[in-house]
């Protein structure tokens, strides 16, 4: 069992002004501050990639709810990451439409190519592999989602090409803005290239 530190700093020393402003905006649209808890977790995760114990305590303090209560919420929902994740988080659909259409082969290919299992992150910190329930794209099965992008009609072969391309993009971007503090953020807030 992990114990979350209860002695805490002032949340303003921890959360950025942008994070606080975004959370306060959500809270202002809602009846109670507690109701903004899930939004707040998603906001901080979008900025930092995951929810650390410190983030959890700071958000709880900002919203005036107990850390334990917020932890209960954070661990209930599967899109809140309570552990660090890679630059790209692969959410592959393991539900029935994909199962019937070749999910097993695609999954085996991903695991083999990245040498990780479900719940693990590659050594270079680039990819985390997670399962997801039906992504609502069953007509294009098998499907995975990375960031905001669906990757439809996967095969054992094309999924490897997709992952390699993403890796190359990330490496090119790291070279482009090689600021010393450019921590790899996850791709969750990458803009959609649809619209």
């Amino acid at each position: 069992m992990q114990i979350i530190a209860t002695i805490q700093r002032d949340y303003r020393d921890y959360l950025s002004e942008t994070e606080i402003a975004e959370i306060e905006h959500e809270a202002s649209c809602l009846e109670t501050r507690e109701a903004a808890g899930i939004d707040a977790l998603k906001i901080v995760q979008a900025h930092r990639g995951w929810i650390s114990d410190e983030s959890l305590a700071a958000i709880a303090q900002l919203l005036g709810i107990s850390t334990a209560q917020l932890e209960g919420v954070a661990t209930f929902y599967n899109l809140i990451y309570r552990q660090p994740v890679g630059h790209y988080v692969i959410h592959i659909c393991d539900s029935i439409g994909c199962h019937l259409s070749g999910y097993d082969e695609v999954l085996a290919s991903i695991k083999n190519h990245l040498a990780i299992d479900y719940g693990q992150t590659t050594e270079d910190g680039m990819f985390t592999l997670l399962s997801n329930v039906c992504l609502g794209a069953c007509d294009k099965a098998p499907v995975m989602k990375i960031g905001q992008q669906d990757y439809p009609h996967l095969t054992a072969e094309n999924v490897v090409i997709i992952l390699d391309e993403l890796l190359n993009n990330a490496l090119a971007n790291t070279l482009a803005d090689s600021l010393p503090d450019s921590l790899p953020r996850n791709s969750a807030e990458q803009e959609l290239d649809h619209d």
Partner: protein, 434 residues
């Protein structure tokens, strides 16, 4: 009939670029809401919706007008009136094999906003939420854009189109978990809590979100409202005179030639959806069975192909219309492996509140995976049947557990030989047959 009256829900869908508000209005949009706000009292709209016999498209098929009529109504100056009521659109869509709401959310967001104005006005709600599953990023972006446009054009906000009616609309993007789609769990999620369902009564219509009267309706259900208002109850019933009123967005997935979605008059047969629209089975494959409306419906067989896909007919055939999305099992996929996949889903997504569901679903997974891997015993089939009883309606707080039973129980009935074969042979007879 024109496209607008044959395929009212989808004729304006544009998944590449949904209509902006001016174009939507130009195409006839917001006329249903205008009619409700300017020509009807809330009680009159309620009567129209009741008369239309619109049934909920979220899975349970409950008559929408009847559900709304449980919301307490008060005169404006009544001191007992609650300070607010809420309308919530259920856009959680996490039922495996279901992707119809996504089409409406991404393809014609203003239709949903118009629909929510009509529904909220009828029940006297001044605030509404769209509860959107977290993975639907594109839908979130397009809905927000449409909502912003609606505020700018005074279709949301105060004194909408000089009607004296006010409505604020907020999108909540979820953070995952299938159980959030259950309406009382959804309400807990909106309150920032863990999404366990609530014990009923009280029903949300009386005490729901933040303790206030609340209506939760599915995206597709709501999307019918502008058209019912605009074209009238007679038209709506006439769309499918032999069946339940209106159209239905049917879907198909699995190894069929052209998986997808089609809006058809309610009561299209399974055969029509599967063979005329989904193009039949892929080369070399035969139809073995199907789930007619998502993961939590009972299997049907090829002998049921001529069943109309409406609530009563599918129920008579022994299943449920559910969400109307066919999940098609072919003869090269193992039925035991299919049921195992489904039960794994339910076990993982169980919220853990009720013992039969929390312990029963993983137990079923354990037994099924034993059978699938050739380690099963004949007595396992009795244990599975017993689990189906333990998890049936009335023994749990919500319908997730009975929903898990439906495919399991029907598979035990229809695919009994395949189960026994796994046990007798000590292996899965389908291995290597993909």
């Amino acid at each position: 009939m024109t496209e607008a009256t044959l395929k009212p829900l989808t004729y304006l869908v544009n998944t590449a670029k949904p209509l902006a508000i001016d174009d939507y209005i130009h195409a006839g949009g917001y006329q249903g809401a205008a009619k409700a706000l300017h020509q009807c009292t809330p009680a009159q709209v309620l009567d129209i919706v009741k008369d239309s016999s619109l049934k909920g498209r979220g899975g349970a098929g409950f008559p929408t007008g009847v559900k709304w009529s449980f919301v307490p109504m008060f005169a404006a100056d009544d001191p007992k009136a609650p300070d607010n009521k809420y309308l919530v659109c259920n856009a959680d869509e996490m039922e495996p094999g279901t992707f119809k709401d996504r089409l409406l959310l991404e393809g014609v967001p203003h239709q949903l906003i118009e629909a929510m104005i009509i529904a909220a006005y009828t029940i006297g709600a001044n605030k509404a939420f769209i509860f959107l599953r977290g993975e639907y990023h594109l839908a979130a972006k397009r809905l927000q854009q449409a909502i912003d446009e609606a505020y700018q054009s005074n279709w949301l906000g105060s004194n909408i189109q000089s009607s004296n009616y006010q409505l604020d609309l907020h999108v909540h993007t979820s953070a995952g978990r299938y159980i959030c789609g259950e309406e009382t769990a959804l309400i807990n999620a909106l309150e920032g809590k863990r999404a366990n369902p609530r014990a009923k009564p009280p029903f949300p219509q009386v005490a729901g979100l933040f303790g206030k009267p609340t209506i939760v309706n599915n995206v597709e259900t709501l999307s019918n409202l502008p058209h019912i208002l605009k074209h009238g109850v007679d038209w709506f019933k006439q769309v499918a005179p032999e069946s339940d009123a209106g159209t239905k967005i049917y879907g198909a997935c699995g190894r069929v030639n052209t998986p997808g979605l089609w809006e058809l008059p309610m009561g299209a047969t399974i055969r029509e959806v599967l063979y005329e629209h989904a193009g039949g089975m892929k080369d070399g494959l035969k139809l073995k069975g199907l789930l007619p409306g998502g993961a939590s419906t009972d299997f049907l067989l090829p002998e049921h192909l001529d069943t109309p896909m409406d609530y009563d007919s599918i129920a008579k055939a022994g299943s449920r219309l559910g969400t109307g999305g066919l999940i098609v099992l072919d003869d090269h996929n193992c039925p035991v492996a299919m049921v195992l996949n489904l039960l794994k889903f339910f076990a993982q997504e169980s919220c853990g509140w009720c013992t039969p569901c929390r312990d029963g679903t993983p137990w079923a997974v354990e037994i099924l995976s034993r059978i699938e891997h050739g380690q099963g015993r004949l007595a396992d089939l009795d244990s599975l049947a017993q689990l189906c009883d333990f998890m049936w309606i009335g023994k749990t707080h919500c319908a997730l557990a009975p929903g898990a039973v439906e495919p399991l129980k029907s598979a035990l009935k229809y695919f009994h030989d395949e189960f026994e074969q796994h046990i007798d042979n000590g292996c899965c007879p389908y291995k290597g047959s993909h």
